[in-house]
């Protein structure tokens, strides 16, 4: 029950990243349907610790390298790397889909394990949202809100399309919208 939003520039660099938990309790039916084809699949990271196998059999070869065996990475950091990778990978799917559709909102274009990726094409940046439950209408409204906020950011004459967004107001707006819609 969490979300990860990334705004991706035309050069594929993340302009803005935010991960946040859901505000609403999961509606039972939708969550069941979303994972029905993968009922027993674990999350990417849960089964055996870190994804990149910090606790693989050979990792202890270093012996004295206590820090090398994965303790140095905290949970959120690990998740963030995972989310980034999924978002990055889904850009391929977004670009494939972009050509064939006229709508800005591309729902459920990609998935990895429990993560579902939805995207929104706003001018030349892309909003990528990772979510684990299906909530098409909420996500669409959320994307529209993000778009509005983004356009306001864009009004700044010093903002180019590749400038990372570090505006706290923008972030709080998005959080508020997430609370409302997701």
């Amino acid at each position: 029950m969490s979300f990860y939003l990334a705004i991706v520039s035309p050069l594929d660099s993340p302009l803005f990243e935010l991960s946040f938990p859901s505000a609403k309790p999961p509606p039972g039916s939708s969550s069941a349907s979303s994972t029905s084809s993968f009922p027993s699949w674990s999350t990417f990271t849960a089964a055996n610790g870190s994804d990149l196998g910090a606790d693989g059999p050979g990792a202890k070869v270093g012996g004295s390298m206590g820090l090398l065996s994965g303790e140095s990475k905290t949970g959120p950091e690990r998740d963030r790397a995972m989310c980034q990778m999924i978002a990055h990978k889904s850009l391929d799917s977004v670009e494939e889909m972009m050509d064939g559709t006229g709508s800005l909102y591309l729902k459920n274009i990609d998935r990895h394990n429990e993560w579902i990726v939805s995207a929104f094409i706003a001018t030349n940046v892309k909003f990528i949202l990772l979510h684990d439950i299906k909530n098409d209408d909420g996500i669409r409204l959320f994307f529209l809100d993000v778009w509005e906020s983004y356009v306001k950011i864009l009004l700044n004459p010093f903002h180019t399309v590749n400038t990372p967004i570090r505006n706290p107001v923008f972030e709080s707006k998005i959080r508020a919208s997430a609370k409302r819609n997701l």
Partner: protein, 1334 residues
């Protein structure tokens, strides 16, 4: 010729069990094979151009038709032999893959071969069920027909079959008579006889095979190939010309070691069975050389191939076609029945099966307990039908059967059957692609439509999902993998890459085994194929990371690293920092565990770049890991030397742009205040009056840093910690382009907090002047105490644009700011200002010291100083009281010049402290800039050098003074000053005394001792008197004359006043100290006034035109001290003076009267009008004329004061006894005084007529005598006019109404003619006088 990929066809080809007599086995063993099946193995796929009839009875020629020969035991008695268990397969795959290097790119091929060939005998499909049995007897056999009978019985007895779901009896039986030439000789007659017998007994499916024709012994070939081959091209039979024992052996060796063709051997080897231990299939063990085909000739190989062809073309294919037709009938009949179920009641009534058994005896439906269909069930039959038609490449028909089976199986909840049918249905759809038709030309295939492709993908997905659903997550699903591989091979063949990667990832499931890792890596490879060049790169990166993780978990580090490296190349381009860091970290860690500490350090270094978004402190881990890795690296000097160039910090620590070289202990003269320094320098140079040559410049060159030998200067570095964890820098030092003769300090250790920026100063001392310039080149330090780093500090200058070449190629000027010039030791003076507080009050006098130290090698003397605030710093003279006899003060506005500062010489190395006084003249922040000049006193030719001093002071207001002047009325020039002093500060101020300083006025000094708390006000009265004995020139003729010249058009450079150098003042009690302070304040106030009144005259000329003090000016000085808040006596009381300047008690008069007339005259005559070229010039001239002729100097005030008195009146009342004395004649006195100190005044006093319009209450007086009085009053004079009024009755009378006209003028010296200046008129106020009768 296109056809389905060999890997698919091969792995799903018909299987033929081989059952032979013992002597046949022996004949084969002579050739190094363990049975006839191995002897046939190289040729089993070699059947070409096979014509197959489809269900629609259209013959199609297929390019190949492989079959699989297996031993009878592996199919019937011991199925485990033919296919290893899943765990064994996985282990096999990992050991084979692990034995290869990643660069060989064999991992997928090996995995594919092993996966496809390890397909076990399963209930839910019939591909591995035997299609036929090959019986072989040899001519050597003593009783060939009996043996054959026995073998036949062995195959047909159902007891031998240990799985109930396999139909081992409905198979093709094929009989072979083997003639071993080696043992039986060339005579073929017995063989043919035997064959005829066999044909008689068993029908036409029988043939003769002649082998081992090579009788003489052959030399074994030199090096038989024994390596494992995942896939090899199928060999062709040898022609006699090509007969070559080595090649023959090689063909056998490779076929038998091929994973595709003989998986069992590999499995057996790994299982460790002693019987097959000589087979060369352990990847790690060295193997014994073995010679194959020793007894075979080229003809034999042709015969073997012919046998296979005969078997396939003449027996197998027709038999299978017949079975398909036969079963098709059954299938259709049942299909009708099954669809009929929808209308009818129960299935058994509609089970119109050929041998419908009684219920209960043999179950015909799905056995839910054991999980299979019995062989008699129509579903099992249909499956076999579908598989047969699949093997016969009738994919459309097979697909339709699979489709219906899929539904039936799903209805029976036989999930494994359903999954098997589903996957085959999808595969049939896929293989129905026209590209796979043998008739279609080998052109680029047309891809499926999106819809078709999605459908095929969805079938695969469904099957895979079903497999994964019914097993634990982490367990590998070989079924899923196998089918995925088949699909993938087909997709590869038609060049279909859409969502292939996704399917591969899906198929590989969740388990951390090598096969799934290989599949995911293959998915990564598939991602970037097809479509545009850049597409899929990101997905590929993701899949590579996934694959890397699985490889690592499975223990294949090299593969894992390769994947990660490929992924990191993609991620390195884009700023997805977190993912990037993760990959680099893993790579670094893997490299470290493999002992490649240089690579590890390199990877860890990439993690240590600036990143704002990370979790605080997260970079501490990599930092520490890197320290450990580097420690290991350092123990291997060869590696270290190799890699040291690559180890560069990703984010530089030091900011080159902020690096500065600061000549030691000198206030900087650069920056924003540079212009003020230049101004000060020009002031000093303009008023140069020192001995010796005047230098060109006093300030150090901004562009060039000059340092004497042995003088220390500082290199200021700006270090920033780019990490979010604390960072230690050790042994920080800088390097110049030369190392000789420079002493450079090294800073042992600095700890920088996360993201902290700190300035580090490193002292550098040049030891010799042999090099004229040194340039800062780099900074070296130990990054976090272990990594030696060097950062270049060479700066680029301005971008050049002069030439075309420079514009095309960015060219930069040389930057000089980090270059130091070294000169031989020069005279140097160290100056420091001490003891002046940062905050002062206005007018406060602070005592401080200037500390001088000769740091050069030469004696210096003739010290002078110049400050940008004139007089704000002065030397404190010894406190001897000034003699009161000297009352003259300098009356010239001093220009800011070099003041002598210290007269004695300072030998090298010695210091002096000189007391000074700082006076704060104005409020606000003051940047005090000073130059201390010095030269060598012994040598007049040396130039003067200067040292700059800088001090910053904030001055706050303390007292506000407000003065009002009133005439006392007693004497003409006596006034009272009401001085109101308000304390504006928060300090407690004590007013010690109030003085007045003026040339022409005498003030009685008041010695008060009042304490003023904040916001309190003190009002004091001072009486002043005009000192008529003074000798000052009130008309200031010299000044006016000069101004006149200016106005007349003389250039300002040529105009100068002959100024009086001093003026005497009336106050005799001023100490010289206070006088100094007064002069400083007076000067600044005077300059302010002048620039306000004469805006067109440049301020630099004021000192040539005006005097400091005008004679009639009066300045008041309030002498205060600040009461210290603490009562301790040690604190020196803070003292100061507050001033109020330029009071003028007497009425002012125009100083420019005559000048104005002169100018008017000139203008009227018109001969002096100057023409100007520019409008602005004439405007400025007009402005100058106005400011001089109509400005402050032309002000004329009415100097006359009138006072009306009635001498007889007593408090406004006159008492007169009218009855007794009659009307009264009352004398009234008009006192008319001329307050002008210089000019006489003429007056006319008109007394009014009595008016009849008066009201009743107040009567107008009746003046008697002359009603007009005239007179002239001398300067400072007073005239009394006496008049009388006539009063006849008691009344209230008003004494107002008179009119006084006054005229200021002067008498001309020559003819005594009166020249009027200005006149005023005034009317007397109502002044009521009561006249009372008795």
């Amino acid at each position: 010729m296109p056809s389905p990929p060999l890997s698919i066809v091969q792995s799903l080809s018909p299987r033929i069990a081989v059952l032979t007599s013992q002597d046949v086995v022996q004949s084969c063993e002579a050739n190094g094979c363990r049975g006839l099946e191995e002897l046939l193995r190289p040729w089993e796929g070699g059947t070409e151009r096979v014509s197959i009839l489809s269900t629609t009875l259209s013959p199609t020629i297929h390019p190949t038709f492989p079959v699989r020969f297996v031993s009878f035991e592996s199919v019937y008695t011991n199925p485990a032999l033919s296919a290893p268990g899943p765990d064994v397969t996985v282990d096999l795959i990992s050991s084979f893959v692990g034995a290869k290097k990643p660069d060989e790119e064999q991992h997928y091929a090996i995995t594919r071969s092993l996966l496809l060939s390890s397909r076990p005998l399963a209930s839910h499909e019939t591909f591995n069920h035997p299609v036929g049995i090959l019986f072989a007897v040899s001519t050597v056999t003593p009783d060939p027909l009996g043996t054959l009978n026995k073998l036949h019985a062995q195959s047909s007895s159902s007891a031998i079959q240990n799985v109930p779901w396999m139909d081992g009896s409905t198979v093709l039986r094929f009989y072979v008579v083997v003639h071993d030439v080696n043992t039986m000789g060339d005579d073929m007659a017995p063989a043919h006889e035997l064959l005829a017998n066999v044909k008689k007994a068993y029908g036409p499916h029988s043939t003769l095979l002649v082998i081992n024709s090579q009788i003489e012994h052959r030399e074994p070939p030199m090096s038989p190939d024994v390596a494992t081959h995942p896939s090899i091209p199928l060999p062709r039979p040898f022609t006699p010309e090509q007969s070559n024992p080595s090649a023959l052996s090689q063909v056998y060796a490779s076929a038998l070691s091929s994973l595709t063709l003989s998986p069992m051997a590999a499995a057996s080897a790994s299982l460790g069975e002693s019987a097959v231990s000589d087979t060369p299939f352990s990847p790690s063990r060295p193997v014994r050389r073995k010679l194959y085909g020793a007894k075979l000739t080229a003809e034999d190989t042709q015969r073997l191939a012919a046998l296979v062809r005969e078997l396939v073309v003449q027996s197998l294919v027709p038999w299978m076609e017949a079975r398909v037709r036969e079963w098709n009938e059954v299938y259709h009949a049942n299909r009708r029945g099954i669809t009929g179920r929808l209308f009818g009641a129960g299935r058994k009534f509609f089970g119109s099966r050929p041998n419908s058994p009684a219920p209960g005896t043999t179950p015909t439906g799905y056995n839910t307990v054991k999980g299979y269909y019995p062989t008699s069930a129509v579903e099992a039959l249909s499956r076999r039908l579908a598989d047969f038609s699949f093997m016969l490449r009738d994919y459309k028909f097979a697909g339709s059967v699979y489709d219906s089976l899929r539904k039936d199986f799903a209805q029976d909840r036989a999930w494994r059957y359903a999954a098997g049918a589903t996957e085959m249905y999808g595969l049939c759809l896929l293989l129905s692609h026209p590209f796979f038709l043998p008739s279609s030309p080998p052109t680029k295939p047309v891809s499926f439509t999106n819809l078709q492709h999605t459908e095929i993908t969805s079938w695969l997905e469904q099957a895979v999902t079903a497999y994964h659903q019914h097993s634990p997550i982490t367990q590998i699903q070989l079924d899923a993998l196998r089918i995925t591989v088949l699909y993938y091979e087909a997709w590869k063949a038609i060049g279909e890459w859409r969502s292939v990667g996704y399917c591969l990832v899906k198929g590989s499931g969740e388990s951390d085994e090598v096969p799934s890792a290989v599949m995911i890596e293959e998915a990564a490879a598939a991602d970037v194929k097809g479509g545009k060049s850049q597409k899929g790169k990101r997905r590929r990166a993701f899949h590579l990371v996934l694959a890397a993780r699985r490889f690592e978990t499975a223990g294949l580090k090299t593969y894992s690293r390769r994947c990660l490296e490929r992924a990191s190349q993609i991620y390195r381009d884009s700023p997805w920092t977190s993912a990037q860091d993760r990959i680099e970290y893993s790579l670094g860690r893997q490299a470290y565990t493999l002992g490649e500490s240089d690579v590890a350090v390199e990877h860890f270094l990439r993690l240590l770049r600036r990143e704002d978004t990370g979790v605080p402190g997260s970079q501490a881990g990599p930092l520490q890991d890197m320290a450990q890795a580097y420690e290991q690296l350092a123990s291997r000097p060869d590696l270290l030397a190799e890699s040291s160039e690559k180890l560069q910090l990703p984010t530089p620590i030091f900011d080159i742009q902020k690096t500065r070289i600061v000549p030691s202990a000198e206030a900087s003269t650069s920056g924003s205040t540079r212009e003020r320094w230049v101004e000060l320098e020009s002031q000093a140079l303009n008023t140069w009056d020192r001995k010796g040559k005047r230098p060109m410049t006093l300030l150090p060159d901004e562009k060039r840093i000059v340092v004497g030998v042995d003088e220390t200067f500082q290199v200021e570095l700006s270090a920033t910690n780019p990490l979010n964890a604390p960072l230690i820098l050790k042994d920080v030092t800088v390097a110049f382009d030369t190392t000789e003769n420079i002493n450079i300090e090294s800073i042992p250790e600095i700890t920088l907090d996360p993201y902290e920026t700190r300035t580090i100063s490193i002292s550098v001392t040049p030891l010799s002047a042999s090099l004229s310039t040194i340039k800062l080149s780099n900074v070296t330090f130990l990054f976090h105490e272990f990594l030696p780093c060097t950062q270049s500090l060479i700066r680029k200058g301005k971008r050049l644009h002069a030439t075309k070449a420079q514009r095309i190629n960015p060219t930069y000027a040389e930057d000089q700011s980090l270059t130091v010039s070294i000169t031989p030791s020069q005279a140097g003076l160290y100056v420091e200002l001490k003891g002046i507080p940062e905050m002062l009050y206005e007018g406060e006098e602070a005592e401080g010291k200037v500390r001088l130290k000769n740091r050069g090698k030469l004696k210096i003397g003739n010290l002078g100083m110049i400050w940008n605030e004139y007089g704000s710093i002065r030397r404190k003279v010894d406190t001897k009281h000034q003699d009161t006899s000297d009352t003259n003060i300098p009356n010239i506005i001093q220009s800011n010049t070099i003041q002598p500062f210290y007269d004695e010489d300072i030998p090298p190395g010695e210091g002096r402290e000189i007391p000074i006084i700082f006076t704060a003249t104005k409020t606000g922040p003051i940047d005090l800039l000073g130059l201390i000049l010095f030269s060598n006193p012994d040598d007049d030719t040396t130039t003067t050098s200067a040292t700059s001093v800088y001090h910053h002071v904030v001055v706050r207001p303390l007292l506000r003074l407000n003065a009002q002047i009133r005439s006392t009325g007693v004497e003409v020039q006596e006034y009272m000053i009401v001085l109101e002093t308000t304390n504006q500060s928060s300090e407690v101020v004590r007013i010690d005394s109030i003085d007045g300083i003026s040339p022409a006025w005498v003030i009685d000094t008041s010695q008060s001792c009042e304490t003023l708390h904040p916001n309190q006000a003190l009002r004091s009265l001072l009486s002043i008197k005009y000192d008529s004995s003074h000798q000052h020139d009130l008309r200031q003729t010299n000044v006016i004359e000069a101004l006149g010249n200016l106005v007349k058009g003389q250039p300002i450079e040529e105009v100068s006043t002959s100024l009086q150098s001093d003026i005497s003042i009336s106050n005799k009690s001023l100490t010289s100290d206070r006088l100094q302070s007064y002069l400083v304040h007076r000067r600044s106030n005077r300059l302010e006034d002048l620039s306000a009144h004469f805006p067109t005259i440049p301020p630099t000329y004021f000192n040539r035109l005006f005097q400091l003090v005008e004679p009639l000016h009066l300045d008041l000085v309030v002498n205060y001290s600040i009461v210290p808040s603490t009562s301790s006596t040690e604190v020196q009381p803070r003292k100061g003076f507050a001033y109020i300047h330029t009071l003028n008690p007497s009425p002012s008069f125009s100083l420019v009267k005559t000048l104005r007339e002169e100018i008017n005259q000139l203008i009227i005559s018109g001969n002096k009008s100057q023409r100007t070229m520019y409008e602005e010039t004439s405007r400025l001239r007009r402005l100058l004329m106005t400011s001089v002729l109509d400005g402050i100097l032309s002000k004329e005030d009415d100097p006359v004061k009138v006072k009306v008195r009635v001498p007889d009146a007593n408090r406004g009342k006159v008492i007169h006894d009218f009855k007794k004395n009659g009307p009264k004649k009352l004398p009234i006195i008009f006192e008319i005084s001329n307050q002008s100190p210089l000019l006489p005044v003429r007056y006319v006093l008109n007394l009014p007529q009595p008016s009849s319009l008066n009201n009743d209450d107040i009567s107008t007086p009746q003046y008697i005598g002359s009603l007009v009085r005239k007179g002239t009053i001398v300067p400072n004079g007073k005239e009394i006019v006496k008049v009388d009024i006539w009063i006849c009755e008691p009344c209230l009378t008003s004494l107002g109404g008179w009119e006084l006209r006054t005229e200021l003028g002067e008498l001309q010296q020559e003819d005594g003619q009166w020249i009027a200046r200005r006149s005023w008129s005034r009317v007397g106020d109502e002044q009521v006088l009561e006249i009372k009768g008795l």
